[in-house]
């Protein structure tokens, strides 16, 4: 089943075409990554898909329903963590629930139990200013998850604030979580290894104007990727990606 698709999306800013004729799709429970150099228009595409930016032309379909320019249906973790400094972490994270009319107390009660699973145990009553970059990103991720009643999430460089060691742990953890929560996800990354390690498919985007250059399928099941990055299969994927990025 197709969870989400975009149909021929084009968007320009003051006459300059930023993304052109972008058609991608996301199946249920799939994890797809969007890989491309800086400035190729990845964030712009996400802004359009999430509905906060109206495209010049093209459509966004959520399970067949046209949601172009209608924010609030697709969960979106922006490139910055954007935790609101004036609210405690638990209130930040449960904000999507409150925006849907759930009381503060009820929202806190539903959110609290998830803290441990997201590696945020004991941070409920902290203000974001007291958290490290990695913790903040996890909090933003939890908030995105809580806002994902539509079943689709967009993550813009969700792991960029993490060092390589933490990243490795987070990837394993993330794959576990994804398995549990049945969320179909597109995520943006600059990190080729990360893309290959986590996704079912990779869209490669090249810039000026941003277009989808290629689509690479990773065959190995997502729950069978321990030490995947040490295999020949992984390397051949990586070679393919690099070739496309270099424009050959």
């Amino acid at each position: 089943m197709e969870a989400l698709s975009t149909q021929h999306i084009t968007k320009s800013f003051s006459g300059r075409v930023i993304i052109e004729d972008i058609s991608i799709r996301l199946m249920e429970n799939e994890l797809v990554s969007l890989l491309g150099v800086s400035g190729s228009g990845k964030t712009t595409l996400f802004n359009v898909i999430s509905g906060i930016l109206q495209p010049d032309s093209g459509q966004v379909l959520l399970r067949g329903e046209d949601v172009t320019g209608h924010p609030g249906k697709i969960s979106y973790m922006l490139q910055k963590d954007l935790l609101l400094e004036h609210m405690k972490v638990i209130d930040n994270v449960s904000l999507p629930l409150r925006l849907n009319g759930i009381s503060k107390k009820e929202a806190r009660m539903r959110t609290g139990p998830l803290f441990e699973e997201f590696g945020l145990k004991g941070t409920q009553e902290l203000y974001p200013a007291a958290m490290s970059g990695g913790m903040r990103q996890r909090a933003a991720l939890l908030r995105t998850y809580l806002g994902s009643q539509g079943g689709v999430a967009l993550l813009d460089e969700p792991f960029s604030a993490l060092d390589t060691i933490t990243k490795g742990q987070i990837h394993t953890w993330y794959l576990d979580i994804m398995e549990k929560i049945d969320l179909s996800t597109i995520f943006i990354t600059h990190d080729i290894d990360e893309a290959i390690l986590l996704s079912n498919r990779i869209y490669i985007m090249t810039g000026a104007p941003g277009q989808i250059k290629d689509e690479i399928v990773i065959d190995r099941p997502r729950n069978d990727r321990k030490e995947f990055n040490l295999t020949e299969e992984f390397l051949s994927c990586k070679r393919k990606v690099l070739k496309t990025l270099e424009g050959k």
Partner: protein, 262 residues
């Protein structure tokens, strides 16, 4: 603990400067260079302050009431106008110049008019306080609303927030620091505004009392009133700081965090 002792050391220069000024004042009086009926010595002023205390308190109560009513109305008005101006761009363009113009009208010039229009009661005093305190708060709020990180608004929109929710969760909280900066200035204007309008007529209040002791050439008591006004204004400003800290607990965390890092 460390922070507290730092706070105290940072205040030492100010205390020394203040002490030097007092010493100079006392020296000038003691040397006899300035006759004591023109400039009473610090000791005279303290004596007048103590001797006059019940009187001072009686009049201070009236001035404080006027200042408080004026300030509360000023805050309310500033909030409504700034919020509406932020919401509707055309209103902002229409009202901005008028707001600035109202600030160039000298307080002392409209005070008598207000008395003529509204009589000798509290109304003209409160009105004057509203006029003087409204502006810094409104400007603070407007600036605050505009200081919002546009990405935070994008986030809220992506989560399906409506206009009111964006205001409540993002815009208003980001405007709070600016609001309090404005409020602090306004609090210091409020008492002075009340006193000035009392000069021009009325039955009680520190301004009225001031004109009375001036007519009696009681300069020591005059100075006592001035010092009381200074003390009240400082207390009001301190109160604003206190409310600010209590209502924005997250800024505390930020400051602590910064200290830890450095």
């Amino acid at each position: 603990m460390k922070e507290r002792s730092e706070n105290i050391t940072s205040k030492v220069p100010a205390v020394i400067a203040l002490a030097l000024i007092l010493l100079l004042w006392w020296g000038l009086c003691a040397s006899g260079m300035i006759p004591s009926y023109m400039l009473p010595s610090p000791a005279d002023v303290v004596r007048a302050f103590i001797g006059d205390f019940p009187n001072l308190m009686y009049h201070a109560k009236t001035s404080l009431q006027e200042a408080a009513y004026g300030l509360v109305i000023g805050i309310g008005l500033a909030f409504v106008i700034a919020t509406v101006m932020d919401r509707f761009r055309w209103l902002d363009q229409a009202l901005s110049p008028i707001l600035v113009i109202t600030q160039t009208i000298p307080t002392i010039a409209i005070a008598p008019l207000l008395v003529l229009w509204m009589g000798f009661g509290m109304a003209p005093k409160i009105t004057l306080v509203v006029i003087t305190t409204f502006f810094p708060i409104a400007v603070g709020l407007l600036e605050g609303y505009r200081s919002v990180d546009p990405d935070e608004i994008s986030l809220m929109r992506a989560m399906g927030a409506d206009r009111y929710q964006i205001f409540r969760f993002v815009k208003f909280p980001s405007a709070l620091p600016h609001f309090f900066s404005g409020l602090k200035i306004s609090a210091s204007y409020a008492v002075v505004g009340a006193v000035i309008s009392e000069w021009l007529g009325g039955f009680e209040g520190l301004g009225v009392y001031m004109t009375r002791v001036k007519k009696a050439y009681a300069f020591d008591r005059m100075f006592a009133v001035i010092i009381l006004i200074v003390i009240i204004s400082l207390l009001l400003m301190a109160l604003v700081d206190l409310i600010r800290t209590v209502s924005m607990p997250w800024t505390e965390v930020k400051a602590e965090h910064r200290n830890e890092r450095t």
